[in-house]
């Protein structure tokens, strides 16, 4: 399918593809096995300018927006959705700064993020506040020019490895969601530590940890936007970052389709390649149709966001995320099926892709929550017209 990429967009995709083939494919199984964080690869990613694609040019990035990010994450996730997440989750942690940071904050951090020298994370979820993010309990109590943070965030991607964290905390309990505030917290701040690293089903090269705040003092200059804007910062961040998850999912799906197609043409049973059996052909056809549909909805969503012509795109963003991740799950399950017994073995890439795909239906709003948002917006749209 022709997506009319600009010359620059083509170069982004081509660079990401070459990068993944050269530096990720040879080691992806090893990182999956050990669960180590891919420091070396991330450094090379920075050198290749793959870390600052979505960051404005004035801050050292390429200024190619959500769509540029989408292209790179898709290409690299075709090879490994886990290693790529180190960069993609940095984007999640950086959107609050791009959307709500002031000039000083941006100048201080964005160039380092763009060059790959700084890793970021986004801390919203807590043990008792997952889908129900409004019920977070981490507190930030004002004390002069400082806020004192206390509480624990759970399952934070890039936890422990990131240098900068956007943390949503309660500054005024009486105001509910309007009483939350977004803080930029640097690693190394006194009173800020990390819980244990989680042992996960998939995306094992990604670090997931707790963020623990014990009387952690953060200066008021580290607030994003202003006090009380925490929930709005978080929700708009997710609207901008969900295409990143969708791109990860699409990449995993497309990678699984490639592998399954190749395998089906090589594997022979009953005297012919299994790709000659119609049952297999139909599976491949369904996978290809869904992958292409996923790509179409995602690319158009990303372009819509970048065009700045549509103010509210929470519906489109949730659609892209839920659709691409559902496609990723179905496609990888079918890829394992096409691989047969080999699909169940770690010697082949299909089982890892299936494990990696699952997370895309869960984080940055489960697909149930995404569907809630889509429906809510549909109803709002109708009411708005009346």
């Amino acid at each position: 399918m022709e997506y009319f990429l600009s010359e620059k967009e083509k170069i982004v995709a081509e660079t990401a593809r070459e990068f993944a083939e050269k530096y990720i494919r040879p080691v992806r199984a090893e990182y999956d096995e050990t669960g180590e964080f891919p420091w070396e690869i991330l450094k090379k990613m920075g050198q290749a300018d793959l870390c600052g694609i979505y960051i404005p040019e004035e801050y050292g990035g390429l200024g190619l927006g959500v769509f540029g990010l989408t292209l790179a994450v898709e290409e690299m996730s075709k090879v490994c959705g886990g290693i790529t997440l180190a960069m993609a989750a940095t984007a999640l942690g950086t959107f609050p700064l791009i959307l709500y940071g002031n000039k000083e904050q941006k100048e201080k951090y964005l160039p380092k993020i763009a060059s790959g020298d700084m890793i970021c994370a986004f801390g919203l979820t807590e043990a008792n506040a997952g889908s129900d993010a409004g019920s977070i309990a981490t507190r930030a109590d004002k004390d002069g020019d400082y806020y004192v943070l206390n509480g624990t965030k759970t399952w934070i991607t890039n936890g422990g490895v990131a240098d900068l964290y956007t943390v949503i905390a309660v500054t005024d309990k009486s105001k509910g969601a309007r009483g939350t505030t977004a803080f930029l917290v640097e690693k190394g701040t006194e009173g800020f530590s990390f819980g244990r690293k989680e042992n996960k089903m998939g995306i094992r090269a990604s670090s997931t940890t707790e963020l623990v705040f014990e009387n952690c003092r953060v200066h008021k200059s580290q607030i994003l936007s202003r006090e009380g804007m925490g929930f709005i910062v978080a929700m708009n961040t997710l609207c901008n970052s969900r295409p990143g998850v969708a791109a990860q999912a699409l990449g995993i799906a497309a990678g699984a389709l490639d592998e399954a197609l190749k395998f089906s043409m090589e594997r022979k049973q009953f005297g012919s390649p299994i790709s000659s059996f119609q049952a297999i052909q139909h599976m491949l056809a369904d996978m290809a149709m869904e992958v292409e549909a996923a790509r179409a909805i995602l690319y158009q969503t990303a372009r819509t966001i970048d065009s700045k012509k549509q103010k509210n795109f929470s519906k489109e963003s949730a659609m892209a995320k839920a659709f691409c991740s559902d496609v990723a799950m179905r496609t990888t399950v079918n890829a394992v099926q096409i691989f047969g017994g080999s699909g169940y073995m770690k010697d082949y890439p299909a089982e890892k892709m299936m494990r990696d795909a699952k997370i895309t239906q869960i984080y940055e709003g489960t697909n149930q929550i995404c569907r809630n948002e889509i429906a809510l917006q549909l109803i709002k749209d109708v009411k708005g017209k009346k």
Partner: protein, 264 residues
């Protein structure tokens, strides 16, 4: 610090054509690439720039389409690329090549550090780096596998020698040649790829680099290649080993190897 990296265009595969008269390689554009060792030389320079600052210039001597490898270097983010190009340079041996390159460096891009690949995969002499150091009167360290430190106008490097490694400290300016084990070359970055789209190398000929015309090209080359040929393949006997199962076949192979004293 000014770093110059010498890079060479080499045939990308083994299907090369030779000039029947001069016995030199006919270099065409399609099947050409950058000498693999020179990617490591470029990476070395870029890492030094990252750690100590400075400018990196890539230099090549070759036909006009050798600008392709300068574009690769620009993609990898070198600051500048210089093409030494002219009919007068054709047919150069290592003496003439190293003279020409050293003249260009002296005239166009004076260097504190010159980095070459250890060897070119076509000519295969490993003499150009050492030659440049002699023409310019600079210190030389070959087969470098690690840059340890640069300070006080000195560079400390690790080089591989038979049976071990040596730490060597030399005064700058100097020439080093690097082995592949020194690093993993980066790919061309996105900004580098944008930049190379409209990059034109600075092209210099013999006049521009003010060199002695008797020392360049075929005329300046004491080496002349008489004949280039592909050695005939030796015919070998073969025998198919039969057996009930793999173990039995393997045993027969092992017995044969021991009996013929091929392994002891």
């Amino acid at each position: 610090m000014n770093i110059v990296v010498c890079i060479k265009q080499v045939p990308a595969n083994t299907h090369v054509k030779m000039d029947p008269v001069t016995h030199t390689l006919i270099r065409d554009r399609s099947g050409s690439t950058i000498n693999p060792y020179d990617l490591h030389a470029l990476e070395t320079a870029l890492q030094i720039r990252e750690n100590y600052g400075g400018r990196v210039t890539a230099v090549t001597m070759g036909p006009p389409h050798a600008s392709d490898i300068l574009k690769t270097a620009v993609g990898m983010t070198v600051d500048d690329g210089i093409l030494i190009c002219g009919r007068e340079f054709a047919g150069a041996d290592t003496l003439a090549t190293s003279y020409t390159i050293s003249s260009a460096i002296k005239k166009v891009c004076p260097a504190d550090l010159i980095i070459c690949g250890k060897i070119a995969i076509d000519g295969d002499t490993a003499q150009v780096g050492p030659g440049i150091s002699q023409w310019l009167g600079m210190s030389l360290v070959c087969n470098v596998i690690k840059i340890e430190k640069i300070e006080d106008k000195k560079i400390i490097v690790k080089r591989a020698v038979e049976g071990g490694n040596e730490l060597v400290s030399v005064t700058l300016p100097a020439v080093i040649t690097v082995d592949k084990s020194i690093n993993v070359p980066r790919i061309e970055s996105i900004k580098g790829r944008f930049k190379k789209c409209d990059f034109e190398p600075k092209t210099v000929n013999a006049e521009a680099i003010e060199c002695d015309l008797t020392k360049i090209g075929l005329n300046g080359s004491p080496t002349s290649v008489f004949k280039v040929f592909i050695p005939e393949r030796q015919k070998a006997d073969h025998e198919l080993i039969e057996g009930k199962n793999v173990a039995e076949k393997a045993q027969k192979v092992a017995d044969f190897l021991f009996e013929s004293k091929l392994i002891v």
